[in-house]
């Protein structure tokens, strides 16, 4: 049984404006599954809807269509979401900002126990701090007194407090130096093995995703354009957008400089969503049908799906 199933999920936002009744389509037709112990990487540029998707999974964003199933149980009302928030934890992009500023680290880590009225074994806070490699005396500090790496670790400790099944990490290493990033990624990796966690990792850092994810899902303008095993997608991407993203990522090797510009233009505004294939405005391969016909997600190889007319 899969841990999390997202089926045909859509999110619309009401348009701001006093008299207009328009709805802005943010996400549509998202299908994803996540198996226990698996890491899924969610990749895309800003505005692709990846953060909205993560929030929708926890019920922090109201969905307009589709279904969410967690551990075989459909998530419908607030009560269901209250339960999933116990078994699925979230790590935020800005780790310091995600910690309540007037609480000490000790109080912050104890927060999930208080919220879900779970009795907390004595010494649990120190255990959790030790698990993420922080000294016990840090429990008395306030969030603004932490370094970026320490705040990340506190975020990990808090996420693990109630031993969740799923951890959703939004840009888990944004703003960190490479050496600190490596420490956090190793920590997440160790904990995954130890606690049999599943991760949903949202990132625009392709090298990071390739390093941690078993499968990846690529999003563009609120649609899933490609999903498949990480090694396969990186070795032979089946959507031109994925191919462009991979080509755009700067390699830390001066001998592998890119010869030419990988992708032209900018991500279009969701207010003016292109007709046909959403990517045709920037696609180097776009042809007649791409401008008019919406491509469907099709299985190009076992387990490897892409939304493209051409590949």
């Amino acid at each position: 049984m899969s841990l999390l199933t997202v089926q045909d999920l859509g999110v619309d936002l009401p348009m701001a404006g006093m008299f207009s009744q328009g709805r802005l389509n943010i996400l549509s037709g998202i299908d994803l599954t996540l198996q226990p112990g698996e890491t899924l990487g969610l990749v895309g540029e800003s505005g692709s809807g990846k953060t909205t998707l993560a929030r929708a999974v926890l019920g922090l964003q109201k969905i307009s269509s589709g279904t969410l199933t967690f551990c075989g149980r459909p998530l419908k009302d607030n009560h269901d979401f209250r339960d999933i928030r116990r078994d699925a934890a979230m790590m935020f992009q800005d780790a310091v900002a995600s910690l309540s500023p007037r609480m000490t680290v000790g109080q912050l880590i104890a927060e999930p126990f208080v919220i879900h009225r779970v009795s907390r074994p004595s010494g649990k806070v120190a255990d959790l701090l030790a698990q993420v490699g922080l000294p016990p005396d840090i429990a008395g500090r306030y969030p603004h007194e932490l370094s970026g790496g320490q705040a990340r670790r506190v975020g990990v400790a808090r996420a693990l407090a109630l031993t969740p099944k799923l951890v959703i990490a939004d840009e888990p290493t944004a703003g960190l130096d490479v050496s600190v990033q490596a420490e956090i990624l190793n920590l997440m990796n160790d904990l995954k093995a130890k606690l049999n966690l599943s991760y949903l990792i949202i990132s625009h850092n392709l090298a990071l995703v390739r390093h941690v994810a078993d499968r990846i899902a690529v999003m563009y303008l609120g649609r899933l354009v490609e999903t498949g095993p990480t090694t396969q997608v990186f070795a032979a991407p089946r959507h031109p957008y994925t191919a462009s993203l991979l080509a755009a990522d700067p390699k830390p090797d001066p001998r592998q400089r890119r010869a030419d510009l990988a992708i032209k233009g900018e991500i279009p505004s969701i207010l003016r969503r292109p007709l046909g294939c959403e990517f045709h405005t920037r696609c180097p391969m776009a042809q007649g049908q791409c401008l008019t016909k919406v491509p469907q997600l099709t299985e190009k190889q076992p387990g490897h799906w892409a939304r493209c007319h051409l590949t």
Binding site: L60, A89, S98
Partner: protein
Amino acid sequence: MSFADNAMARLLRDPMGAMGLILVVAFLTMAVAAPLLAPYDPVALNVVEKFQTPTLAHWAGTDQLGRDLLSRIMYGARTALGIGVTSVGIAGLLGLLLGLIAGYGPRWLDAILVLAFDSMSSLPMIMFALAVITVLGPGTMTLILVVILVSIPGYARMIRAQTLTLAGSDFVLAERAMGASSARIILRHLLPNVVGPLVILLSMDIPVIIMLEAGLSYLNLGVRPPTPSWGNILHDGYTSLRSAPYMVVIAGIPLVLSTLGFTFLGEGLRDALDPRMALRGRI
């Protein structure tokens, strides 16, 4: 060292803040312990000793009815601070509550509350005060009621604006993601973050209310004589300005000092409670 200890230490290190605190504590002591400290009964008449300039027996002199001015000023502190602290305190508490509800509650409730705040603050304060006094009659309770009604919208708006900003912040989202209830988010996470600036604003508003009380009492629209009030003493002083000019001066001193005290304290608190200052103190 906790944040609160730290803030106190920083407040005392700032000379203005320390002076504000000393003045405020002095006036509060005067108000609370007036029956113990006052040398005479503030309303006891002694026509024989009227219009006395300060003497050893009467340190601040006596008024047109021979009442001891020092005692009247001490009891006046009771009136002034009683009205100031009570009304500002209640207004602050209600403003805090309404502001939090407007900022984090359902949007329709916010729309209604904002409309109410706007209508309230569009009334000219003095006109409104005079209207209420006309209906209810002058007196301490009326004064407190007017101040509360007039002050709530300002506090509530400030709290609402801060709550709205905080409601969109990551730590509130993180709490929601952990499954925290709205009540918990409001009480444990929003309240501690908005209450600091409110305390500062309140402490700076108390002198305004003291002045308002003095002003209305001077116009005979506030506290009814013979209850001692700084405004009433000023009023008496002005009526006998020719025969006893010192009365006005003496009645003015506590007004000036208390205003300065509360303002300094408010400014000191603002600096002392700023978390960035806290950070700077620790590096």
